[in-house]
Amino acid sequence: MGVGIDVEHLNAWYGATHTLQDINLNIPANHATALIGPSGCGKSTFVRCLNRMHETNPIARATGVVKMGEIDIYKDASPVEIRRRVGMVFQRPNPFPTMSIYDNVASGLKLNGFRNKAILDETVERSLKAAALWEEVKDELKKKSGASLSGGQQQRMCIARALAVDPEVLLMDEPASALDPVSTSKIEDLIFQLKSQYTIVIVTHNMQQAARVAENTGFFLNGKMVEFNSTHMIFTNPADKRTEDYITGRFG
């Protein structure tokens, strides 16, 4: 089951650039939360702060409190532990090119030293089914490279790979922006099914997508969170003028 995330006074920098400015936000457990906003507004940086991927860049820095359940992820745990509990799906599908489909999905477990074959088999099947890819690849699991799949299949494989380590939170950074409409709708269906079991945070440029999949939506602008509310309220009755301008297409 997923856990909620409480973000208090989160600030982030890339070098001297103050990318995130004092973000405060409660992300509820087992719901999908969408983050919208124009390019460069800090949405991606924000989700990367939630699994401490932000700090893999040597010039990046972050301060503030991010609580996952009872754990302060910046104080009480190592980045490696946090990333096992918070899965991430990236903008472009990033399969491990030298690994088979099976090894790609099992990689999170295998690379952490897990070797029990029966459990690996079971996990790979369960994860691929959860990512709605099982039927398409089950015959060539170990023969085909993960990189040989189509873009949409690769992205679903990456989702399966993230699910295989049994995370509580799933971060998705524009997971469908590099995909065609059919693949996009498959991914959206998937998010709809997954949010009963995982806390999902999805960054998207596509406002219809936010409206379709997320209960709550946050609007980011220039490194600040302008507004956070139920998706319905954001799109029908935004409190802030800037939010209204953005969703009505007046800028961005």
């Binding site: 699994n51 990236f90 990033n94 690379l111 023969k143 085909k144 990189a147």
Partner: protein, 312 residues
Amino acid sequence: MSTDPTPIEAPADDNGFMRPPMDFQTRRMRWNSMRRHAVNHLVTGLALLSTLLVIAPLVAILAYLIYKGASSLNMAFFTQIPAPVGEPGGGMANAILGSGIILALASSMGIPVGIAAGVYLAEYGRGRMLAMAVRFTADVLNGVPSIVMGIAIYSLIVMRQMHFSAFSGGVALAIMMVPTITRTTEEMLATVPHAVREAALGLGVPKWRTVVSVSLRTASPGIITGCMLAFARVAGETAPLLFTAFGNQFWSYKLNEPIAALPLQIYIYAISPYDEWHRLAWAGSLVLILMIMMSVTLVRIYAGRGALKGAS
């Protein structure tokens, strides 16, 4: 304009009717198209010629070696040690074994050090002073003449131990392998997309494990090529062995004693005044080249096994 094409005569069709004359635009397009085709053929031809020029020396050398050396190849060559001057027969069995030992020593020292240094440069040392120093040193080391390497190892190891040894030969060749392997490893790791590393880190895989199981594995075909190039280069080196491994006319497999090596043996035989030894030198050269080609091919086959469908 002086560059304008000459007008193309409108040809008569089968019934003797003249087609309407082409306007200027059409003529110009046709002329351009002809020119493009001509340039295309010219450049393709040049590329083909260059390829032949590159392949020709290799084929010529191999053919000449077979012509000169194959007749002297027999079982004795692979099983006997050199015969005393004046006696016919004899072989280079000890030199083949010696080369194998020295190269195994050099590879077992040079490849791990080279790859480890390349990993440091690509994955840990980005932008650090030490990394820049290592990179610069590797490039300089790559340009050090092999005879200088031999003298350096002579004074560093041989002079202290007061005797020539297989070990010192191995060290000399290992140091010559390191810069090539380091730089190829670094360059190959740099071609691994950042997104692939992030995928592993995002799954909670520790950095060292990501480097070993994801970055190195993804870059492994290129790194293996680098190791093979370094190996093939030092396998034929004579100069660094002159003052280190020294050579030996008898069986020797001890690491702390002088040892025979194919390039050394070829060198000694080739400058000797005896026809019999000249023939053996040719045979030795052929064997040396075949050994290098064989080991490179074997590694390629071994490394290429288990490749997946559609793997990039």
